[in-house]
Assembly symmetry: C2
Homo-oligomer: 248 residues x 2
Amino acid sequence: MSQQRHGSTPGSGSGNVPAFPDLPEATIARLPEYLRALHNLGEGGSDTISSEGLAAAAGVNSAKLRKDLSHLGSYGTRGVGYDVALLIEQIEYVLGLDQRRAVCLVGVGNLGHALAGYDGFASRGFKIVALLDADEAKVGEVIHGLAVRHIDELAQVAVEESIAIGVIATPAGAAQAVADELVAAGVTSILNFAPCVLSVPANVDVRKVDLAIELQILSFHEHRKATLTALPGGRSATGAGNQEAVGS
Amino acid sequence: MSQQRHGSTPGSGSGNVPAFPDLPEATIARLPEYLRALHNLGEGGSDTISSEGLAAAAGVNSAKLRKDLSHLGSYGTRGVGYDVALLIEQIEYVLGLDQRRAVCLVGVGNLGHALAGYDGFASRGFKIVALLDADEAKVGEVIHGLAVRHIDELAQVAVEESIAIGVIATPAGAAQAVADELVAAGVTSILNFAPCVLSVPANVDVRKVDLAIELQILSFHEHRKATLTALPGGRSATGAGNQEAVGS
DNA sequence: AGGCGCTTGTGAAGGCGTGCACAAATCGCG
DNA sequence: CGCGATTTGTGCACGCCTTCACAAGCGCCT
């Protein structure tokens, strides 16, 4: 239930922001990777980059990369490649990173503590503006320059800081309640680190990251490799695909 | 591997472990989720569970779940459902979780510190047996009961503890070098938290988790929702898909 | 024993994503 | 000014995955 297909963006014509021709989810998931590669290249002094080069830096097939980029308009020059700076600008625009996004983090336990200090957020367009926890003992503690506030202040903080994205780093048992509170506070995107399924309204996006699951998937491949090497054929190596990247 | 199989391995014949008919990657990525849901149900006292119920608990379509489970043999009973305990055993066997797997963690910085103490690993079949770092200042530090050792000891530790899985939680700049060392030490599965592409031999599996990328994907959806609500139709809500779960 | 309701397992259809292969376009050079 | 080298953008085919829909199987009740 809930969950419905894109209505399709009507035939444009309205003349407004073109919004985006609905990009394939697979493409969206790769854009950040391209962006990171482009930033590296840019710092390296490159001015333009070929699809082949960028694809290598991002770890994907070059045809796939070209098709991905073609979805958001043609910003390459045949015979030359892509203008690094321009492409960065374009991708950041599409991803909505031209504005710094405020994020709140709920659950300052083991993992939450680390996330609060994770450089990668700040350096890539996000700013954690609030740390929240239900544990009174943790309230007031200053972590990486930010004081932990009580979860009850969520609604107030969310409005003050215009928070649209929330990160849940609580135990699984508390995650659904926190999610409900985030939604009530107007948050429409949630990154969930708790190992559980969240139930949210259809207009709220949830992405789940479960570290143990990643290891379990690797465990399967280990198991498979182990049984394969034990088999007659013997030829182990050359596993099927090996560089799996996360991202639905 | 593992002592008693419950009710006879279907295939039989050759007498050996049939290995697995190669499961679709998509299925493999979901098995851990099913497993988690099953454990919850088991603790809740449930003895059997229908595909509908388990699918709901795991956040997937019931037909998909049935097909996934059918790939690893038929362990359900028509008209009744699946035996929770039996299914747990089966999935754990397929994932290779019937043996506790030793993991080493390289990079005891902000994130690595948290991973070292993450309960989810221990409770789901993994044991971090070594913490490694290149920073001499960190060597010797005891984190969650385990002393940090210098990266140069990697090869030795890997052999001692039979480590097949390594976790990289270093800055991006050091990740490739660490990966090379892990591979040299015999590690064949790597979970990479550094924001960069790793180059490894074909027989080594790599899974990448980039926390900033997850946020950027959410940012895109925020951006899209924002532009949609600004459009004529006004009907905001009901975004396309909302409960995206990570996993390639 | 027989029938009825429930649930699994699966054939088939459709959609999505990937990758090849090539036409179109651009630049640089003679 | 034209030609060749290079690289983008994309039509097309293929394969994987998802989803529907239903037959087959199982237990229970009468």
